[in-house]
């Protein structure tokens, strides 16, 4: 169960703290108005009751109207403040999530779908948290105390009834929560799987159709839904109990106050005006506490959304930054890999066994490895996306991860195994490598890698419209312009010719060789490896099972 206030959200975003303070202030003024409202109401009713005259109380009516107006203003103010706080926190989290994702672009714990969800709809759950839950929480903290004090001042016996009942609400709620927790937790997993049964079948429909099984499975949907309903209702009947206890206590307490105050009024122990004042005010002491219960799911959703965001932010957290050093010029400096190895956090087996080699200016190094040999991991170390867990990757004695990242990457042109594309034209994608490249230069680069496409052909979301081979060639052209018209002195290529036919491959190889930059490439093609000045064999990792030998890129 999430706590009432997300501690990190509070620490993290100044907006939350300011908003809580403002919320409490609004709560204090609101309770003041509530008391005034009750008093004015009691005063007018009792006055007319005893004097049988309306005229003397017209001013009271006016004041009462003013109190309602004030409450309306406060409610509006609260909404606007809540929105501001939510918007502020959402912007902060959006920025940090995106920064974190790009700080470690290869830390892909969060899929792109998760990231899109978190940044757009996911964080919107914070709206409910800020606009409904937190204001109620602030009111619940302030109003019962202030209203209770007013009742205490007017009639201590009624205050005693409320003082006894009110704290019972959280006690009962947590008691019920505590006793049902196990039952709920036990059912939760079953219920969760049942709830996802439909989604699973719908997502699998194309597969079921291919085997002629889709229609027949409708009966499975029917039975699954029936089981889902039964199980969910069983869980709900338990979890609604706490709301039941809350309603019961609150209403019962108001009823007891009304009845006792009524009988004491008959006995002359309390005045009519006081009795009415207490009656009007008593429900207000309970209302905010009940509302907190009503909006509890807003809290749970908001906290879950914040947690999701923080998980991504944490995954992208880089080690505390020392001042980054300027990168040495790769045209004259050598990149040294010395006994560099890498083990992923939480993994027992190293992803990359220690390896050593040097990349001198203009040299071509081919990396050859069995699957699971850690080629991709090694390339990440070269780029400085990750720091090696053993050994070092350095230039002129400085670890790559200590270099200013922008300064270092400016000298590198990188073609990953599945190159990413941006929405726009093919030319836009090539120009990602060197924004200042002219139209002719873009066409030259494309031609050099046998990509004789129309540079103005449009590229959709996720490279739509380009085949895997075409994407690879566009990425190669992107790398070439970065060498020719940018500052790149090192090409890092991951399987640059996979999926290309022999002719195209030959063209690509000669373009790479002619670039003049140093090259580190991973390939299984003999024609590509033959190009290298040096071939580095990566030791295959120990492969006990299938999962270790195969990877999806």
């Amino acid at each position: 169960m999430p706590g009432p206030i997300h501690p990190r959200l509070l620490r993290h975003a100044r907006a939350t703290r300011n908003y809580l303070i403002a919320g409490v202030a609004v709560g204090v003024v609101t309770s003041g108005l509530m008391i005034a409202q009750a008093w004015l109401l009691a005063h007018a009713v009792v006055g007319i009751f005893t004097t049988r005259q309306v005229a003397p109380y017209l001013a009271t009516f006016g004041m009462l109207a003013g109190v309602f107006l004030g409450r309306a203003l406060l409610a509006w103010l609260n909404q606007v403040l809540a929105h501001r706080a939510a918007a502020e926190v959402k912007s902060t989290l959006r920025r940090e999530v995106l920064r974190a994702r790009l700080a470690r672009p290869t830390a892909d714990q969060a899929s792109s779908a998760t990231l899109v969800h978190v940044v757009t709809d996911g964080l919107d759950a914070l709206d409910g948290y800020f606009s409904k839950y937190l204001p109620q929480l602030a009111l619940a903290a302030v109003v019962p105390a202030v209203v209770g004090a007013a009742i205490l001042w007017a009639d201590w016996e009624s205050a005693l009834i409320i003082a006894v009942t009110l704290p019972l609400i959280p006690v009962f709620m947590s008691l019920i929560g505590w006793t049902t927790q196990q039952a709920v937790a036990r059912r939760f997993r079953v219920a969760d799987r049942l709830a996802n049964h439909f989604a699973d079948l719908i997502e699998g429909l194309p597969t079921l159709q291919a085997f002629g099984r889709a229609r027949a499975q409708a009966r499975g949907v029917e039975l699954g839904e029936e089981a889902n309903r039964r199980e969910t209702m069983r869980t709900l009947s338990v979890s609604f109990l706490s709301a039941f206890a809350l309603e019961l206590l609150a209403n019962l307490s108001v009823a007891v106050v009304a009845v006792t105050v009524g009988f004491r009024l008959v006995g002359g122990h309390v005045g009519f005006e006081t009795a009415l004042f207490v009656l009007v005010l008593a429900p207000e002491a309970f209302l905010p506490v009940r509302q907190v219960g009503v909006h509890f799911h807003d809290s749970a959703d908001g906290v879950a959304a914040a947690d999701e965001a923080f998980a991504i932010i944490d995954a992208g957290a880089v080690a505390p930054t020392r001042p980054r050093l300027p990168a040495p010029d790769l045209a004259s400096s050598t990149l040294r890999v010395r006994e560099a190895g890498y083990t992923y956090p939480g993994s027992a087996e190293p992803a990359l066994d220690p390896v050593s080699f040097e990349v001198t200016p203009g040299s071509i190094i081919a990396l050859r490895a069995r699957s699971g040999g850690g080629k991709t991991t090694l390339l990440r170390l070269l780029l400085g996306f990750e720091a090696p867990t053993t050994g070092e990757v350095s230039v002129d004695g400085v670890a790559v991860t200590d270099l200013d990242r922008g300064d270092w990457l400016r000298q590198i042109a990188f073609v990953p195994q599945n190159p990413g594309m941006v929405v726009g034209s093919i030319a836009d994608n090539v120009r990602l490598g060197a924004p200042d490249a002219s139209g002719d230069q873009v066409v030259e680069a494309l031609t050099a890698v046998a990509a004789d496409f129309d540079p103005y052909r449009s590229v959709g979301d996720d490279g739509e419209g380009l085949s895997a081979g075409e994407r690879r060639r566009v990425a190669l052209a992107r790398a070439l312009v970065r060498v020719r018209h940018g500052h790149a002195r090192l090409l890092v290529l991951d399987e640059p010719t996979a999926g290309l036919d022999a002719d195209t491959e030959a063209t690509v190889i000669s373009a790479v060789a002619a670039s003049g930059a140093a090259v580190v490439l991973v390939s299984h093609r003999e024609a590509v490896i033959a190009l290298a000045d040096r071939v580095v064999e990566l030791a295959p990792a120990v492969v006990p099972g299938l999962a270790a030998t195969e990877g999806v890129r």
Partner: protein
């Protein structure tokens, strides 16, 4: 077939297709949410009675809290006249009763309401499933159609629990309270009714309208932000390596501030609506005091009723406080349901299921085939293709040219637009994105053949080169599979049945080189002497085939 349901009990489906009453009503339905609602309601057993019960219970709960205030006011006013205590007993019992009953009614209402919501969701899910199962989905670029349907269907729950039941029950209470008050003071009862209409109907309606405007203004910005983030995630390495990351983040943040501007207008309006509701309740209270007070002064109303007339509006308006929220929920659910309704009203394309009858001659002969989606121009024209026993034929062509459309036509899922297809019916189709169900390994393999024995499943798994225990669960609580393992599990489905033809659709897509090579080795060994048609654009796969047919 059998698929393990989540409780672990095996659910065996009869081969007879189940279809509820909803499918029959399909043709007569418009695209409105109301029609969809009626249809779903009709599919739930005793649906209308359950809805009525939920509304009455909710009305009783709200009515109890209004009555608690009214009767308490009377009790205290009566007490002020210092009558014998006996005269107060009935009112005291009433106060206690209303105090206790509210909680009970609310609890029961929630159970009945949620049960109904779940029943309606089940009916709608079945309807959606039946519709989608009848339209061919393979190879159609329908983007996020399936995931959208999954989330849209759940909107019916919100509509029941948060909109229909609260609104109907509050209407009951408002009418009941107005009638009761009218007996004491017609004027203040009418003011109360009017103020309830403002707070419960007019203001929520205005908020909803404004919300709609705001939503439609925000949709393009949201979409732009989503695609910006999507790109940033998918091309993250490239953007960082090319020094474009900061630029991208500022672009996303510019969209964020745009969104913020739009949302702040909506928040402003929401605030005004909430304030308006409080003002409406204020008007009702002050008017009741004034009108009731005048009546007391003129002697036309008993003085002890003044407190009742003045206090009831306070409790009444509390019931309406959630209505602006409900109006927004209504907008959201209505959008989702009308979108769903549109999807469900689309005529089915093709047959949905592939036909899987055995035929005499294994292999495939395609003569002069024009293939394309029904109602669209053919994407492939005049295709001639033969795959004989033991042959491995590659079907190549750039992406989007219609290779999977050919596969869907060959499997009989969509009709050929022209030409002839001679094929055995039992096609084993291995898709690059074959879905792995969150159930046991064995049940996943049984998709390929419903009545496969345990021994046959183990045999298929080992032929597919997958060393997993058949009873291992896959998914959240169980094992997660690597891409290569998932494809091998899908291969086991193909292997477990008798096949007259294999169609492999991009078998190596998204696998790294070594994994792909190992998979292809095993695939060729397993296919043995079966005819195989491989759809691919992977040059390494093409090199392994005996013949190549090029599209386009």
């Amino acid at each position: 077939m059998t698929l393990q349901t989540r409780t672990g009990e095996a659910v065996t489906a009869p081969t007879r297709t189940t279809s509820g009453g909803m499918a029959r009503a399909r043709s007569t339905r418009g695209t409105s949410t109301v029609a969809l609602w009626r249809e779903v309601m009709a599919a739930v057993r005793h649906g209308h009675w359950r809805l009525l019960a939920a509304i009455l219970l909710a009305g009783a709960a709200s009515g109890a809290s209004v009555s608690l205030m009214g009767v308490s006011g009377w009790l205290i006013s009566r007490a002020a006249e210092a009558p014998p205590v006996l005269y107060l007993q009935a009112a005291a019992v009433g106060v206690r009763f209303f105090g206790i009953s509210r909680g009970f009614f609310r609890y029961l209402e929630r159970l009945v309401g949620h049960d109904l919501a779940l029943r309606m969701q089940a009916a709608l899910r079945l309807d959606a499933y039946n519709h989608l199962a009848r339209t061919t989905l393979i190879g159609r670029r329908r983007g996020d159609l399936l995931s959208r349907v999954i989330s849209d269907v759940s909107a019916i729950q919100d509509l029941v629990v948060r909109v229909v039941v609260p609104f109907c029950s509050a209407s009951l209470v408002v009418v009941g309270t107005t009638v009761m008050l009218a007996r004491f003071s017609l004027g203040s009862a009418l003011v109360l009714l009017a103020s309830c209409l403002v707070a419960g109907v007019l203001l929520p309606w205005l908020t909803q309208r404004a919300g709609l405007r705001h939503d439609s203004a925000a949709v393009p910005t949201r979409g732009a932000l989503a695609s910006e983030v999507h790109e940033l995630a998918r091309a993250g390495q490239d953007l960082v390596a090319n020094g474009a990351a900061d630029d991208r983040i500022s672009r996303a943040l510019a969209l964020d501030s745009e969104l913020r501007r739009i949302e702040s207008r909506a928040a402003w309006l929401r605030g005004i609506a909430t304030g308006g509701q409080i003002i409406a309740s204020g008007i009702a209270v002050v008017a009741a005091l004034w009108i009731g007070g005048t009546a007391v002064a003129e002697g036309t109303m008993g003085p002890r009723l003044l407190a009742v007339v003045a206090l009831t509006p306070l409790a009444m308006h509390e019931v309406l406080a959630t209505f602006t929220q409900a109006a927004q929920t209504f907008t959201r659910s209505q959008t989702a349901l009308s979108r769903l309704s549109q999807t469900l009203d689309e005529p089915p394309v093709g047959s949905g299921d592939a036909s899987q009858q055995a035929s005499g001659s294994p292999g495939l002969r395609v003569v002069g085939l024009d293939a394309g989606w029904p109602g669209h121009r053919p994407v492939v024209r005049g295709l001639d293709l033969t795959v004989g026993a033991g042959e491995r034929v590659a079907l190549v062509g750039r992406s989007g040219i219609g290779k999977t459309t050919v596969a869907a036509t060959v499997m009989g899922m969509i009709p050929a637009q022209a030409g002839r297809i001679e094929t055995a019916g039992r096609v084993g189709y291995l898709a690059q994105n074959a879905h792995i169900f969150r159930t046991s390994v064995a049940e996943n393999v049984r998709i390929g053949r419903r009545d496969a024995t345990d021994a046959e499943i183990i045999e298929a798994l080992s032929q597919a080169g997958l060393d997993l225990p058949p009873d291992r669960l896959i998914g959240e609580a169980g094992t997660t599979l690597s891409g290569g393992e998932a494809r091998r599990l899908a291969l086991a489905r193909v292997l477990v049945g008798e096949r007259d033809l294999w169609i492999l659709d991009e078998p190596t897509e998204h696998l790294d080189h070594e994994t792909a090579q190992a998979l292809m080795d095993d695939l060729w060994a397993a296919a043995d002497d079966s005819p195989v048609l491989v759809i691919t654009h992977d040059a390494d796969v093409v090199a392994r085939c005996s013949r190549v047919v090029r599209l386009g």
